[in-house]
Amino acid sequence: MTSSKTIVLRSSDGATFEVDEAVALHSLMIKHRIETGGADSTTIDVPEVTGNTLSKVIEYCKKHVEAPNSDDLKSFDTDFVKVDQAVLCHLAKASYYMNIKGLLDLSSKTIADMFKGKTVEQIRETFHIKNDFTPEEEEELRKENSWNLFV
């Protein structure tokens, strides 16, 4: 049994995860760090990502690295993003920071689909976004909104 190199990833809140190097390299950001970091880069800090999220990201990378041609990859992806919208947001951000294209595409697309068909108020409420328009701008937006939705 050959032992392959492992990398330790450390999240923003100090959680550490030991993963196969091949799995870690699925993140182009980590790949770059390893290639430029020298011989001592066995522990990589990922300060933009919390432990909870990093754990899920690793799960995604493992599946895509260890079984890239498996028949259930598509259904894995579909189920992978059936999560709470806050978790989805963290996944999207993590995939962006860690430069994992497949996960970024998957999570972005899922988020985009969640926005579709929602009203302005629903989007703000669901995604906890503050309305920062001035009252004057609100007036213009009200006009635009009634035109937009008029049937």
Binding site: A86, A112, N145
Partner: protein, 374 residues
């Protein structure tokens, strides 16, 4: 090969309060490039109405989303899509006609413009504008509004009007808030089109004349439908020629200096297109295509390619007419065509360089004019 994952929790930070904070801040603190990526996906997939309303909704969520979406959405001449109400005053698609229809309500004297969603005859359409006819002592006004429930000059949805003379032979189109760079430059000290970058451009609502329409009978002795002539003061004559790239922001002719005369010289304000001399440019003139007399059918025929199905004196096709020292020459591209398809339903198809607003106003004049066929 079994991989061992050792999870060592350094701090006890997974309490529910932290999660709540993370929840509420997560979307607000999204990296700009990631937000752009997500909004671009929405814009690309919701290219047709009614789905396109999601694009407009996303642009109303908060300032950063609006800024992003406004940069992502391309103007109609490039994308072929209508998105924000402001796109109704931008030049239409290049190379293809945007298909719309107008419904007339004789009881309320209102006319409603819709974008075609499908080719079906029972297409509900996407609402664009509503207009209402007001007969006055010496003229008739058609007030045009974004708000179908309030079509008045005082309405917040007021976008402009069409005014006819007493005889119904001459009309003038007024824009309440034109996208004319020169006007914006003087009013707002901005060199970019305010309606693209800002939510509420600070131009005082007024009435800025942007085009003149006239109807005449044919010359005595010749037969045929009335002659239409539209002088588009806000569009230079060379707009009809194919160009490379979308309309520059300072493209439009300065209409604030225009008065009643349609043939007075125009100057491009701040134009970057140095290859055209200002003195040579006049406003774009549109005339109706002359129909052919069909001997067998014994009627005047215009080829609408099946788009218009009911013969009517109101039906027309407008083409650009280039007038120079050698005479006038008709351009082959149909810029606007209008025709009856039902008792109170008419099609309106338009393309670059005119906007949906300009097209609608011209069509309204066709309802009003008393000039008929010889």
């Amino acid at each position: 090969m079994i991989d061992e994952m050792k999870v060592e929790i350094g701090i006890t930070g997974f309490g529910s309060k932290l999660d709540d904070d993370l929840k509420s801040d997560c979307w607000a603190n999204m990296p700009p490039e990631l937000l752009t990526d997500i909004l671009m996906r929405i814009e690309a997939s919701e290219s047709d109405w009614p789905d396109r309303k999601s694009v407009v909704c996303c642009a109303a969520v908060c300032r950063s989303w609006r800024k992003n979406m406004k940069e992502i959405v391309k103007c109609p001449e490039v994308s072929g899509c209508l998105t924000f109400p402001s796109s109704l005053k931008q030049p239409g698609s290049v190379g293809s006609l945007t298909q719309c229809f107008i419904k007339r309500n004789r009881n309320t004297q209102t006319y409603t413009l819709y974008l075609n969603l499908t080719e079906a005859s029972n297409d509900e359409g996407k609402f664009l504008f509503a207009a209402k006819r007001f007969r006055r002592t010496t003229c008739t006004d058609y007030i045009i509004s974004l708000n179908a429930d309030d079509i008045s000059k005082g309405s917040s949805g007021y976008v402009g009007k069409l005014r006819s003379n007493f005889l119904g032979t001459k009309f003038r189109v007024y824009d309440a808030r034109p996208t004319n760079a020169a006007l914006l430059a003087t009013k707002c000290h901005s060199s970019r089109l305010g309606s693209i970058k800002r939510v509420s451009p600070k131009i005082p609502a007024g009435n800025y004349p942007i085009s003149n329409i006239s109807y005449e009978v044919n010359n005595p002795g010749t037969r045929g439908p009335r002659q239409m002539r539209c002088v588009m003061n806000a569009i230079p004559a060379n707009a009809i020629e194919p160009r490379v790239g979308p309309t520059p922001t300072d493209f439009h002719v300065d209409s604030s200096s225009s008065s009643s005369s349609s043939s007075s010289s125009r100057s491009l304000s701040g134009s970057k297109s140095a290859h055209v001399s200002d003195a040579q440019l006049g406003a774009l003139v549109l005339k109706n295509k002359n129909p052919r007399w069909h001997q067998q059918l014994q009627c005047w025929c215009l080829n609408f390619n099946g788009r218009v199905t009911v013969a009517s004196v109101k039906n027309f096709q407008l083409v650009a007419c280039l007038e120079d020292e050698n005479g006038s020459k008709e351009h082959e591209k149909i810029v606007l065509e209008f025709g009856k398809i039902g008792k109170d339903v008419f099609t309106m198809d338009y393309q670059y360089p005119i906007s949906a607003f300009e097209a609608f106003a011209i069509c309204l004049s066709s309802f009003d004019t008393k000039i008929t066929c010889e």
